[in-house]
Symmetry: C2
Subunit: 236 residues, 2 copies
């Protein structure tokens, strides 16, 4: 706690006046009261960004799926479970935010029917689970855009740059943080990450392996300088 307070005091207050929306963690898509579909996101990257932004003076709203993490000081937490809940919370909160960082790993699909009672297994050796597409939160935000600075993540296992570039364009993002889940020191569970940043104008920047807390600050440095460029461009 003392360390956390010291970091807070040492951080530059260069995001004062900004309202930042961060999403974090996985979503859980329930089949019945016991079973669900989910993914390996730990929420650490998103929580690190929320904490860093709050330490730098921003008003921070964090929309988070189920994680084992505690809420950083000064951050307003909105807890959600499913992709649809995350969609509703983000759409509710995004309108007056100047920066949106979507670090959550949102499930693309959910079970088409959620059963209220535990599904009893029959004798079948195979089963077909019908899935339905979830709302695409990032694409919807990209369409709203305006002067909001929109940052997405692309966690990939192959063709990192190609997949990330397509996502940046499709969703109309300002910046995408691409990480190769198979790289040493990267991925969900760990405390470090190795990423490549791709900007709207095509710039590519490789960051070395660093802790998720350090990466959060590096990202906010870049967002802050590009955010101001964007605002000025919008005023011309």
């Amino acid at each position: 706690a003392i360390l956390e307070q010291t970091q807070h005091l040492l951080a530059p207050q260069d995001l004062t006046g900004e309202t930042v929306l961060v999403t974090a963690g996985p979503t859980r898509e329930e089949l019945d009261p016991m079973r669900f579909l989910s993914n390996h996101s730990s929420g650490k990257m998103g929580y690190a960004i929320a904490r860093a932004a709050a330490d730098r003076g921003a008003r921070v709203r964090l929309v988070a799926g189920p994680t084992a993490l505690s809420t950083p000081r000064g951050v307003e937490l909105r807890q959600v479970v499913s992709a649809r809940e995350m969609h509703a919370a983000v759409m509710d909160l995004a309108s007056d935010c100047s920066i949106v960082v979507k670090a959550a790993a949102v499930a693309d699909y959910r079970p088409a029917c959620r059963q209220d009672q535990k599904i009893k297994k029959g004798g079948e050796s195979t089963l077909s689970l019908e899935l339905q597409r979830n709302p695409d939160i990032l694409a919807e935000l990209g369409q709203l855009q305006g002067e909001r600075f929109l940052v997405g993540f692309a966690a990939e296992t192959e063709q990192l740059l190609e997949n990330a570039r397509r996502k940046l364009q499709d969703k109309n993002l300002d910046l995408i943080v691409a990480n190769d889940l198979t790289a040493e020191g990267a991925g969900f569970a760990g405390d470090t990450n190795v990423v490549r940043l791709i900007y709207r104008n095509g710039d590519v920047e490789d960051l070395p392996q660093m802790s998720k807390d350090q990466l959060a600050h590096s990202l906010l440095d870049r967002i802050r300088s590009r955010l101001h460029g964007k605002e000025e461009a919008g005023c011309q």
Copy 2:
């Protein structure tokens, strides 16, 4: 740590000489490197039983799916992820155990094909996920049986007694611990449980709400006395 040592010293050493196999937690069935099917089991009940059995002098082997819990002192942990890994570990370890308590919530089905690369979403609004039946560990143990005392769990949301009785018979168990997931003070995440015990001979015993640690000891009391009855019956 001091409390744990005290409890260890205070516990009766009435399971000395027994080897107990406990399973705990959920299993995760992977679709690809990011996504999985799982369930809400926290592993707390199984870990409590493993801890209590070790405190009472038993040799304890714990086969556990992914949980946030730390291994109790004196317990040999075998960490697994999928139902098939749990099946292999249990079959490997069960043969010289006198008591087997299957508290894990094992997935009935797994994705028929596990993809090595992250599945890219296409434009489809619906998707069909093909699932394949997992091995039924409890039924397989029930067929091996012999003098081993076999305990299963039935977590239900409706028709508790009926579903639990059928499971006890189908799997050839000595005791089934039935809990209603919808009851106050019961369920996966909490630290308390409310259960109904159903024995092979048809006896039914309702236990009041208690902590999972207390329930672990209550279960072991009953297993111990019935185990000796079973051994004596086998000698006649």
